[in-house]
């Protein structure tokens, strides 16, 4: 049996991929992440609220998601200590607006800075990139900057803003600030309509057939066409099992689905494992990435999972045609971006700034001893923070990131999500793209 080793680059860092080949096809693969920063360890014995400042720094591209998961976990600690935390609708909405800004920016950035260049390269091996060069790149960069500016009206700053506190948000915008945010969002919508979707937001979010998407020349239809030409409509299929544990405007509660059957999910069935990690075995281990499972099975998280449990019409149609192939996975991110734009516009229009921003818990945090879990649907999927606090000091902090769900390593008889998507492939170029189709974030994977 032949074994090859590759480096997968430009995934918010890099990872090593070890592939076992049989008859020119991938029989098994291990994805290895080496750069562990020890954030869970650094947090131990620190004052609880320090986590609000530390955890955004897990990841430069999803810092608001971490801040939110953290504050929710802290709020859950208060609740378990018999101190109900209630949030005003305004606080909920502002948290969602800031989170949506992060997701919208992520999806635009990923599509234009990662997916398109990677596809260009597959299409034309002499392609040398377009960053800081092509007009399309600058337009996307501008849209990203505007998206985050809109969010920063509420979060103060991106990345690494700290705008949440137990009981709400710290900002208190005036109505003109909200109008400014609406104006900025319109610019982002215009970019997406013109360049990304090729349709108005209203038309695009009303689609329920893949054929409709292809009717207009756009970055999306070019991407779909190119993926089909290179067989990504058939490649990269995984378990076809999806999980969305955090809340979303797209569906109610926590849900899972096997193919198209959607059922309620419960976080109590989540287990984390250190199998194959250096933590478990410094000599035999080969990665710093933990693994996460739901009832001992691997589930895919992320935009495709959210679209599938929400029974979103367009992605359901892609799924009907192409199953959970790389093509569906990539398209789901763009489709989610459209829904996020609509939802954020609605939230801004309806935001009631006269409500209170924050209702702080009455109990002194230095007397708080409890355990709490916070879940957020981050750009790449379900993000879970679990805190154990004693007298206001962190005893234990545990983070399961979305990329751990998708990119951890399983066993030969129980393949992880990414492994399942790779087995059977016959080319390294395709392997590289399939790994990237998960929107890998190497820093989150290992923290």
């Amino acid at each position: 049996m032949k074994i090859t080793k590759e480096i997968i680059e430009r995934i918010e860092g890099e990872a090593a991929l070890e592939v076992e080949w049989e008859d020119e096809k991938i029989a098994f693969a291990k994805l290895k992440f080496f750069n562990y920063r020890g954030i869970e360890e650094i947090l131990r014995k620190r004052p609880l609220y320090d986590a609000l400042a530390f955890t955004p720094r897990v990841c430069g591209i999803c810092s608001h998601s971490h801040a939110l998961a953290c504050v929710r976990a802290i709020e859950a600690c208060f609740e378990h200590a018999q101190e109900a935390v209630s949030l005003s609708q305004k606080a909920r909405d502002i948290r969602e607006i800031a989170l949506n800004a992060e997701k919208i920016h992520n999806h635009i950035k990923w599509y234009f800075f990662s997916v398109l260049p990677e596809l260009e390269k597959i299409d034309n091996p002499s392609y040398r990139g377009e960053a800081f060069k092509k007009p399309r790149w600058f337009l996307a960069q501008h849209a990203i900057t505007e998206t985050l500016k809109m969010g920063a009206i509420f979060s103060g700053q991106w990345p690494h803003g700290s705008f949440v506190a137990p009981g709400g948000v710290t900002c208190a915008p005036v109505s003109l600030d909200v109008l400014n945010a609406r104006g900025i969002l319109e610019k982002v919508i215009a970019f997406c309509e013109e360049t990304l979707f090729g349709f108005s937001l209203e038309e695009f979010t009303g689609f329920d057939s893949a054929v409709q998407v292809m009717a207009s020349p756009s970055a999306l239809s070019w991407g779909i066409d190119t993926m089909i030409r290179h067989e990504f409509d058939r490649l990269g299929r995984s378990h076809d099992r999806f999980l969305a544990l955090g809340d979303s405007f797209l569906y109610e509660g926590a849900l899972k689905s096997a193919k198209t059957t959607v059922l309620p999910a419960d976080i109590k069935y989540v287990s984390e494992s250190l199998a194959h990690t250096f933590f478990e075995n410094p000599t035999e281990g080969y990665t710093y990435s933990k693994t996460a499972m739901y009832k001992k099975s691997f589930f895919e998280v992320g935009p495709m999972a959210r679209m599938m449990v929400a029974k979103e019409g367009l992605i359901r149609d892609f799924h009907r045609r192409f199953k959970d192939a790389a093509l569906t996975r990539v398209t789901a991110r763009v489709v989610e971006c459209a829904h996020l734009l609509v939802q954020t516009k609605r939230l801004l229009e309806d935001l009631d700034i006269h409500e209170v921003s924050l209702i702080p818990p009455k109990r002194n945090v230095h007397e708080l001893s409890a355990e709490g879990v916070g879940v957020v649907e981050a750009p790449r999927g379900s993000l879970i923070h679990t805190i154990n606090v004693r007298h206001g000091v962190i005893e234990h902090y545990d983070i399961i990131t979305p990329t751990v769900w998708n990119l951890g390593n399983g066993e030969r008889d129980n393949l992880s999500v990414v492994q399942k998507a790779l087995v059977g492939l016959d080319s390294l170029t395709k392997t590289d793209f399939i790994v990237k189709s998960f929107d890998v974030c190497s820093v989150c994977t290992t923290q």
Binding site: R37, F132, T145, T170
Partner: protein, 298 residues
Amino acid sequence: MKPNRKSTVIWIQGITCNGNSHSFLNYSNMALFAASFEMLYHPLLFTAHTLESLLEKPEAFDFLIVEGAFTKEARYLQRFGRSFPEILEPLANKARFIVCVGSCASFGGMFRLRDPQKISGALFNAKEKGGYWEEKSNVVNIPGCPAHPRWIAETMMALREEKTVLLDECLRPKEIFAYLAHHGCLRNEYFEWKVDCKQLGEKEGCMFYEHGCLGPNTHANCNKILWNDISSKTRAGSPCLGCTEFDFPRRALYETHKNMSLPQTPYGISKRAYYTLAGVAKSFKIERLEKKLIDEDH
């Protein structure tokens, strides 16, 4: 003098969260930057060169940007199967300027806390001189967690055009870091009259007294140039965490550290001066500042 060719840039990463890369990508005059600089390699972007090809035969270039904390320990950091020194050294030797972006590259930052003996900034280990290197004459520090995109882009432009870039004792450009984060905060009047913000989430009050705001002790022009061209931590009602200083992150960031129930004094202000003035200011009750900023009833 404005050189007539583009300056070449290689961006590499130590122990990092990628936050400075993403912050930099928010630069609002990116076309202007691109007209003067050529990004030979950036780890998150599709660039013309691979790191391997640049390391194979390092040639002289203009800017080495380093993001993330420095370490010699291969256990703590490996990229492309190489330890950090194996990537850093060949490039550092060929670079005209080495720009450390972010507090991790400058002082060690948050990730230094894992092993302060072995993880540091380029020339500093927190406030101690001597980090990864003992000395190096072409290093500029642009701390911040993350660094502001304008701090990065404009410092590079000034260096490229051979403008005088004055540095402070932490090697930070003075035109940015002579300011304090407190300068330009919308709550300055509450600070003057010692009106505390009773709780977070309100427009009124200063966060210096109870909520740990480090604005008056933190060198940065956040409230002058604003983040994302629009806001800042304190404008969004959150205390400044002191992220540009060598001791970031301090312990208990959301609490004001007090000595005999008095907060530390602002940077460069003597205890006598500060407490005298504070005592006087506090003895007056300024009705306007006790009220809501926007009176919704009248």
